[in-house]
């Protein structure tokens, strides 16, 4: 059994379902791997630690990866976990904001991830506004509470599978504006990154195969998978996670190891346009399809 | 004598006697007092002598209301009113506040009582410090004063209090013989007509300024009968009659 350390992007949540299903179903064991999963508190840390050689793999985000690659971090994507964006701009359905253009002059809360203001800027420009037409407030830990309690009129960085359900459970309907429908190129929300120098590590293809098996089992047996998931994480057994689970299912990458090169290049150009990166890094330097 | 240091109304202060009866007090299982009776005659100076550790300070504190006597102790003023607010107390340690200069230390009483400290009070405090020989060290902090100087500031502070009952615990112990004589006279003059209890280790001092002198001894402590020297204090230090009395006192002390 080879040991493999995976740093999650954040605390365990249904986005990580394929990993947990693979573990609970014994797919990792079958692949000769003993996988340890660790949750950090700051999503920015895991890629750094993988780049520094402290862990084998990290779950990160495609935009972050591209920014990190542009900063010269020796990271490379080896797989995809969630293959669509999850990020959205969310407002209350019964609030005054019916379209992106209605955000003019309003307060928008965000949690500093590095990307959110760029996303919002692109969406606003798509609607004929500028980023300076809204007031941005970093609300860090509490996107939904800030929105629900009327502290802000909209939040960016809310996940479509989570925050919308959260609002709903609290009895308020939310309205989501999807970035990919408002001028932002599509991207992979969750990717699996490894240290570039160690991309040839023979454990990695085995790991991806196990994740793929996990994903497929998950899609074939959603209810059994849920049971496996909450058995491993009993604290997640609640209404919100149940709903998030359901909403996340269709978004998992059906073929985790596959790389859509154009998608990455398109998004890299977007990042450069938004001045989040200085130069468009070479794709081969930060994303591979393992063989 | 400085006129300033004597408050104008002092002549009108009524003299009150103080009586303590059946006093009982225990420290750590040891009965310090048990059925102790003692009386301060109104308007007179009572001196208390006795071996170290016999309980003189404790008795003073008891009268000042600072010790917790046990029943059936009775502490009463002659006029039946409580003693609170009518006692000035000078402790065995100087207890000067280190952050205040000499003058401000002397003015502590009025300030604590929230009295308006006007020119009159300040002048009186100055006068008292001058009288104890510290007229040129008004601003000096305690740390800059010698032991005897600190004791003199504490004495000035006590005299500033202008109370009908004055309790003093070895007020001159750190002073040289000459300064001591001068300050004994000063105190005797300023405190004339008050009820004074003065603890001292110097028999001659007691004989010079006491109307009545008691010796405390034993465990539990007992207070012996009064010696009342002739004449009125302050008596001259070289009075031969005092020397005779001194021998008697020493005899009582050593018994």
């Amino acid at each position: 059994q080879d040991k493999l350390t995976v740093l999650l992007d954040w605390f365990v949540n249904p986005d990580h379902a394929p990993l947990y299903v693979a573990r609970e179903m014994g797919y990792f064991r079958d692949a000769g791997l003993e996988v340890e999963m660790i949750a950090p508190a700051d999503p920015n840390d895991p890629p750094k630690l993988v780049a520094a050689g402290r862990a084998d793999l990290a779950i990160s985000y495609q935009p972050q990866l591209q920014m990190q690659a542009a900063e010269g971090l020796p990271l490379t994507r080896i797989g995809t976990l969630v293959a669509t964006p999850l990020n959205t701009v969310v407002v209350l359905a019964d609030g005054p904001v019916k379209s992106i253009a209605d955000l003019k002059g309003r307060k928008v809360g965000y949690s500093v991830g590095g990307l959110e203001d760029a996303l919002l800027g692109a969406m606003l420009e798509n609607a004929g506004l500028k980023l300076s037409d809204v007031e941005l407030v970093n609300v860090n830990f509490s996107l939904s509470p800030a929105l629900l309690s009327g502290q802000v009129d909209a939040v960016v960085g809310a996940y479509r599978n989570f925050e919308l359900n959260q609002l709903d459970i609290e009895g308020k309907a939310g309205r989501a504006f999807y970035p990919e429908e408002h001028g932002v190129p599509p991207y992979d929300e969750l990717v699996i990154v490894a240290n570039r120098e160690k991309a040839a590590d023979p454990r990695l293809p085995r790991f991806l195969d196990a994740v793929e098996r996990g994903t497929l089992y998950l899609m074939n047996h959603p209810d059994e998978s849920w049971k496996l998931f909450v058995k491993a994480n009993p604290e997640l057994d609640d209404e919100l996670n149940r709903r998030a689970w359901r909403d996340t299912l269709p978004r998992f990458a059906h073929s985790p190891a596959a790389l859509d090169a154009r998608r990455y290049e398109r998004f890299a150009r977007f990042l450069k346009e938004r001045e989040l990166i200085g130069e468009v890094p070479r794709l081969a330097d930060y994303a591979v399809e393992l063989r | 004598m400085h006129d300033l240091v004597r408050p104008t109304e002092s002549a009108r202060l009524p003299s009150i006697g103080v009586r303590i009866e059946r006093a009982r007090l225990t420290y750590g299982g040891v009965r310090l007092f048990d059925g102790l009776d003692f009386e301060l005659e109104g308007g007179r100076c009572t001196c208390l002598l006795g071996p170290s550790g016999v309980g003189k300070t404790t008795l003073l504190r008891l009268i000042a209301g600072l010790a917790d006597p046990e029943p059936p102790t009775v502490l009463a003023a002659e006029d039946g009113k409580p003693l609170d607010g009518r006692v000035a107390y000078m402790a065995q340690q100087d207890l000067l506040l280190p952050w205040l200069g000499a003058l401000d230390n002397v003015l502590l009483g009025p300030r604590l009582r929230g009295e308006a400290v006007g020119a009159a009070l300040v002048d009186r405090a100055r006068g008292l410090l001058d009288a104890v020989g510290l007229g040129d060290r008004l601003q000096a902090r305690p740390a800059e004063l010698s032991g005897g100087m600190r004791q003199r500031v504490a004495l000035a502070r006590t005299l500033m209090e202008d109370r009908p009952v004055v309790l003093m615990d070895e007020p001159f112990s750190a002073l040289d013989a000459i300064t001591r004589l001068r300050l004994q006279e000063l105190a005797a003059g300023l405190l004339a007509g008050r009820t004074v209890l003065l603890v001292t280790h110097d028999p001659l001092e007691a004989l010079r300024i006491g109307h009545r002198i008691h010796v405390m001894a034993g465990q539990p402590a007992e207070i012996g009968p009064a010696i009342s020297p002739e004449g009125s204090p302050p008596r001259p230090a070289d009075d031969p009659a005092l020397l005779v009395r001194q021998a008697e006192l020493l005899r009582r002390l050593s018994s």
Binding site: D42, N44, K48, A51, A52, Q64, M67, Q68, E71, G72, L73, K107, G109, V112, G113, G114, L115, E135, L136, V137, N138, V139, N140, F141, S142, P145, A146, S149, Q151, L276 | R61, A64, G65, L66, D84, G85, V87, A88, Y89, A91, Q93, L95, L97, P98, W99, L108, G109, R111, L112, R113, G114, R141, A143, E161
Partner: protein
Amino acid sequence: MMRAVRPMVRPLVTAAVLIAAWQALVWATGVPRFILPDPARVAMALWERAGLIGYHALFTIGEILGGLALGVVLGAATALTLSYFRPARRWLMPVLVFSQAIPVFALAPLLVLWLGYGMASKVAMATLIIYFPVTSAFFDGLRRTEPGWLDLARTMGGSRWSTLVRIRLPAALPAFASGLRVATAVAPIGAVVGEWVGASAGLGYLMLHANGRMQVDLMFAALLTLAAIAVALYFAVDALLRRALPWQPDNNPDEERD
């Protein structure tokens, strides 16, 4: 001459030594630059982004000073209340300790809900962090008054209030100063944590932002600025306190003459 120059030179030398140590650490451990950039890189960021950092620093300084003022006033008031009312002591003290154990992120939504995203919520956060050290140290000082002085005050007919003002308070000042020193040192982190709660300006915000963007140089440049503010503030307060308490013994073992 030499002596006059020294106080100016020392901080520079300290800084130089620290920077050298930092550089040595980077070399020795080979820690990657996206975790700990080397001094030159950070200096560059500091220089290039001076305007940006300065702008955010102003906010943070305001929050620190506000929090410090409020925390000290509230802390002192609480210490007085605690020492003056036995019930307060019995019932309030557990609540205070309790309050210390509440993490920011639990409090943040509440603070923001009540105080909004402006300066107020950050000052509140800094206040909260400063509050306890001041309260605790001052309270300890207030109850350690030399009993002889209290006896004296009693016979002199001092009211509780005047005994407090004239005796207990000055006697507790050294302890209060002790608490204030700790408070001053933690105040900057209080402000940064406050910005964590939700902000659109301030060094804490800038750091978070730079962290998210992988601009580690900028993050460390902001961090250096924050730390410099903290050190300057600490030594200013320390000098002030020493001047304010001239009667207090201040001796260090290495100044003992042999």
